[in-house]
């Protein structure tokens, strides 16, 4: 009992301390690393935001969405259009969130009446329809050759290179989005998401409308997706119909599951996976990246079914088991009752 109390206290101070360390690292990182590393870390921030949006609708509210890439694409196109037409930055950013949010809400108003696979099918339609539409609206989108922008150069009073400035802008916006979303999913809205995910009948009995909650979750997800589209354009400086492609959506879902669904940190880890694993696979053998990424996916799903976010818990679990085994060689089942923690794979440790 005393041990648990110590651990509780340790957790209390170690968490802000760690957050501080990470924050300092994130601030210092671009100053010492190469433009390539900055680009990769900034890309991670972009996809972390996209995954966060997906996490809201899939992880927290439990609704399948295979259309997240469409919202990134819309956000990126709005940002591209705004940039080429000289709109103020803030207005562009707001529209990047608003327009995908409205599209997401309109789709959700119809789609949220469905469940499971039927819902998945409706959301698939977004990238499938979005890609050819983006190609067709070539006046706005630049057709299949895409939209190239030269944007977000550091202002003259800042002595930073392009990549460093973009890093700070993107990471700062991403941090704000994460903070807002974290507060949201921990509050009343987050609790209603969880109830709708677990049992719609219970939600109804508590006066929570599952339909409205689902629409809200979709709208939030697409708004956050739009924000990540804005960030995408800031980093890549280019967007094309490929951004909306269905393949991106699927890869995002995979990354979300690998990072850890229904978890804020999971979204970050998923983004690290999304960006880093193809690079590492490319270092091993560039002509077999898909195979190696697939092998890694299977490995994670076998060893860490709760995603990368469950890694520390998993390691601790294994350590405790070993310690306990060495302490009490006669495997005493009564000892287990003291740890009523359910692991992600549903078994007690």
């Amino acid at each position: 009992m005393a041990g648990a109390l110590v651990r509780l206290r340790a957790a209390r101070w170690s968490r802000p301390a760690l957050a501080l360390v990470v924050a300092v690292l994130l601030v210092l990182l671009p100053l010492v690393s190469s433009p390539y590393v900055n680009y990769q870390v900034t890309t991670m921030a972009v996809f972390a935001v996209a995954l966060l949006g997906l996490n809201v609708v899939m992880g927290y509210a439990g609704q399948v969405s295979l259309g997240q890439s469409a919202f990134i694409g819309i956000g990126a196109y709005v940002a591209g259009y705004g940039t080429t037409h000289g709109w103020p930055l803030l207005l562009t950013f707001l529209l990047c969130c608003l327009l995908p949010g409205v599209v997401g809400m309109l789709v959700a108003l119809a789609a949220a009446r469905l469940r499971g696979l039927a819902l998945a099918m409706v959301t698939i339609a977004l990238p499938i329809v979005g890609t050819p539409v983006a190609k067709r609206l070539s006046d706005v989108t630049g057709g299949s050759q895409g939209l190239t922008v030269s944007w977000l150069d550091p202002p003259s009073w800042v002595a930073l290179a392009d990549d460093q400035w973009r890093y700070y802008v993107v990471v700062a916006i991403a941090a704000v989005v994460f903070l807002l979303t974290r507060n949201l999913v921990r509050g009343r809205v987050g609790r209603s998401f969880a109830i709708v995910r677990d049992n719609e009948a219970v939600a109804l009995s508590m006066g929570i409308s599952p339909y409205r909650t689902k629409v809200l979750a979709f709208t939030l997800a697409s708004t956050i997706g739009g924000a990540s589209g804005f960030l995408y354009l800031a980093v890549v400086q280019y967007t094309s119909p490929e951004t909306l492609s269905f393949g991106t959506s699927i890869n995002l879902v995979v990354a979300m599951v690998i990072g850890g669904s229904g978890s804020i940190a999971g979204a970050v880890l998923g983004a690290v996976y999304y960006v880093l694993v193809p690079v590492l696979a490319g270092q091993l053998d560039a002509s077999r990246t898909a195979l190696l990424s697939g092998a890694f996916l299977l490995l994670v799903l076998f060893v860490l079914p709760g995603g990368l976010v469950s890694l520390p818990r998993r390691v601790q679990q294994l350590l405790t088991r070993r310690r306990r085994r060495s302490a009490t060689p006669s495997d005493d089942p009564g000892d287990r009752t003291g740890t009523p923690v359910l692991t992600s794979d549903g078994r007690t440790p």
Binding site: L29, P35, P132, Y238, S240, G247, S263, I264, G282
Partner: protein
């Protein structure tokens, strides 16, 4: 209990990110470029007195993996074979061996940019031969800003070649779609007789490029377009469009379909309707083994396609010394990267020779000197190019190859064609 578990999980995850960030930041920024040991001009990154390093990012996985892998395999075959002979002779009198770093971008622009930056970070001298319009379009502004050569691209869109003033560090290699369409039109016009045509093109700027080239070539001639249809690359079937076009009973079908299964569908559907026009196929969907044989192309009076390179597997070229050299080199080096042949393997092999030609007149080990040499090649007969086709990089609005020959399917492979 949950309140105890949750922070611990979060802090653990945060710790993990911290470790990752530390690992990533291990590679610190280096501003210094590779110092040159000799010469008047300071050497650009990626080139020493004995080596040059090149980089390429192409789709090596996903739907475009076949052509993408070939752009690496063919180039690597040429470079490695030349290295084995001792290396490339440069205009400054030195002999250097060339290394090729290749990465997979899966046709994703964001990954292509990441790969480009990674390659530049590793210190490549030039970025060569990459396949894909969106991927190269995303890289182009960065390459031009950082003044890294992004040259001899395997992309049929005009934008990489048609404004060399605006993008002095970028150049295309293969003929544009407009060039291909124009070649078809010219063949029909040269026949000097009334010919009716039906067209089927992809509903985007690729298709428009094809159609523009074709229409400007037939303008004012006896060639008439009776009916046109478009399709989406995501379509699963073009039977409806083929049925519509068959009603026109046109003499010629221009089937600018770039998706392999759909092109096979066009060939099988038209003959099942009893419509057997002469068929024009674009170069990227005209491989006999994957399109013509499954589509039963032998049923049509003629199947034409534009071509500028010899098909190494064709019996017609079995005794050609270039083809034999290619086959030996590909067997030894390229087959490690891909075993499936697409025309891109032959193209990128020829591209290796163009690089060699540029190296041979490059008098200083700098990127500027390389671009100058590369932009002043004309009348160069690269290996594997068809007779009559030469490399000319001096035109300010054209790719390195801007002429194509039309070839005709003879039941097994392609042979040169002398007219309609």
């Amino acid at each position: 209990m949950k309140s105890v578990q949750h922070p611990r999980r979060l802090s653990g995850a945060v710790a993990l990110i911290g470790v990752t960030a530390l690992l990533v930041s291990g590679c610190t920024r280096e501003e210094a470029s590779t110092p040159s040991s000799s010469g008047t001009a300071e050497a650009s990154p990626g080139i020493t007195d004995t080596t040059v390093s090149l980089g390429i990012s192409s789709p090596l996985s996903g739907a475009t993996a076949g052509p993408g892998s070939c752009t690496v395999a063919g180039l690597d075959s040429f470079l490695e074979a030349k290295n084995a002979e001792g290396g490339f002779t440069f205009g400054d009198g030195k002999t250097r061996k060339v290394t090729l770093e290749y990465l997979d971008d899966a046709y994703d622009p964001a990954k292509a940019v990441a790969n480009f930056r990674q390659l530049v970070n590793k210190g490549i001298f030039a970025y060569v031969g990459a396949l894909g319009t969106p991927t190269n379009a995303a890289v182009m502004p960065i390459a031009n800003q950082q003044e890294v050569p992004q040259v001899l691209l395997t992309a049929g869109a005009g934008e990489f070649s048609d404004d060399q003033q605006a993008n002095p560090w970028t150049s295309g290699f293969v003929p544009t779609y407009t060039t291909e369409g124009a070649a078809f039109g010219k063949l029909l016009v040269d026949a000097n007789q009334p010919i009716t045509v039906a067209t089927l093109v992809q509903n985007d700027d690729y298709g428009t490029g094809y159609l523009d080239g074709f229409q400007s070539a037939i303008e004012g001639s006896q060639v008439k377009v009776l009916d046109s249809a478009t399709y989406e690359p995501t379509d699963t079937s073009v039977d409806g469009q083929v049925t519509q076009l068959a009603a026109s009973k046109a003499d010629v079908l221009l089937s600018a379909v770039s998706v392999t299964p759909l092109q096979v569908g066009v060939l099988t559907k038209a003959q099942s309707l009893g419509w057997k026009p002469r068929i024009f196929l674009p170069s990227n969907t005209s491989t006999p083994a994957t399109v013509l044989q499954p589509g039963g192309a032998a049923a049509y009076p003629d199947v034409y396609t534009p071509s500028f390179a010899k098909t190494p597997a064709s019996p017609a070229f079995a005794n050609d010394p270039d083809v034999q050299a290619y086959n030996t080199a590909f067997e030894q080096y390229g087959s490690k990267i891909t075993k499936t042949y697409t025309p891109h393997c032959a193209w990128s092999y020829a591209e290796g020779a163009v690089l060699g030609e540029a190296f041979s007149t490059m008098e200083e080990p700098t990127r500027e000197a390389f671009m100058t040499s590369l932009r002043s090649i004309s009348g160069f007969q690269a290996p594997l190019l068809l007779d009559g086709i030469t490399i000319d990089t001096t035109k300010e609005d054209q790719a390195a190859v801007f002429t194509v020959n039309l070839v005709r399917y003879n039941g097994t492979g392609y042979e040169p064609v002398q007219g309609y």
